[in-house]
Subunit: 180 residues, 2 copies
């Protein structure tokens, strides 16, 4: 951020009075421009013993597989956002079920919120964001081609839970990967 | 938003190519300025049969009572944010426990994430944001002076759960209040 989105004056990065963290501040119109974490909402769409994954047609992680998930939009709920992303990425209609996982990713200012979901039909397919949408059994999951650590962790746990028949809510934190 | 924070040119509110929702777009430097929901993180600080509430010294809802909660900051986890808010608002140190409630508030683009928490000591007090911090038994809760619907709903459920001894995770949505 270089300029004030309210008055176009250059902004200064400093701690405002009464605050404890530096913010982008406009000294001309006194607007403080807060920057906060983003919510990523998504789901694990289930059909019998299979789940629906999407092969990404966009960066980051073009060509790798993920569950349907994306940035939550203003004006929607977390579960409405998860259903919308599933429609946008896989042309699939789901009934959103219980909250299954929340992952903190502090080094990129994101919080992932993932639900389990029931696919309403088998009418799904690729989209502008997705090269291919496909149902996978556990044995077919492309473990070496999963796009994101959050999704990998969630699926590992999901299949462990499947063996017990119980799916308790899980919370975790993804740390910044160590430099090689 | 009136001006581009990257180049100071006026922004246009329109649907970018390949998108489905209008965004603030800069036609000069081609930056798309996304606006997304904010996370509010907080907790119910517990001490024996009491919980800690804060009387707000800031707007909105100046003078009304709430659990410690506030905007999650970049670079932190949800539970670190909840502990930080408790320190800032009530000068209280807590050990954050299980996730207890998630509330969607789509008409103000917020998602509340509330944990249960264990107070580590009785050394707490007011702050710049809080007129008074006080422990309450259930009988003492000022039900008519609770600042936010999310907090009211959460506390009603909390005391119902206390009677059963189990505190399952709860998710809800706060709708826009009807106009009078």
């Amino acid at each position: 951020m270089k300029f004030c989105s309210n008055c176009a004056a250059p902004v200064v990065f400093k701690v405002p009075p009464g605050d404890s963290l530096p913010r982008y501040v406009c000294d001309q119109c006194n607007t403080i421009h807060y920057q906060n974490p983003n919510l990523i909402v998504g789901c694990i769409p289930e059909w019998e013993d299979k789940i629906l994954l999407c092969k990404r047609a966009i960066e980051p992680r073009y060509g790798l597989w993920t569950v349907p998930a994306g940035f939550m939009e203003n004006g929607e709920t977390t579960f409405a956002g998860a259903a919308r992303e599933t429609l946008e990425e896989a042309n699939a209609r789901v009934e959103i079920g219980p909250l299954y996982a929340l992952y903190n990713i502090p080094h990129i200012n994101q919080v992932y919120v993932l639900f389990r979901a029931r696919m309403l039909d088998l009418d799904f397919g690729p989209s502008e964001e997705t090269l291919e949408a496909r149902l996978f059994t556990e044995e077919e999951i492309p473990w070496d081609e999963i796009a994101f650590l959050t999704v990998r962790h969630t699926l590992i746990r999901y299949y462990a839970d499947r063996k017990t028949g119980e799916f308790p809510f899980h919370m975790g934190t993804i740390e910044r990967p160590a430099k090689r």
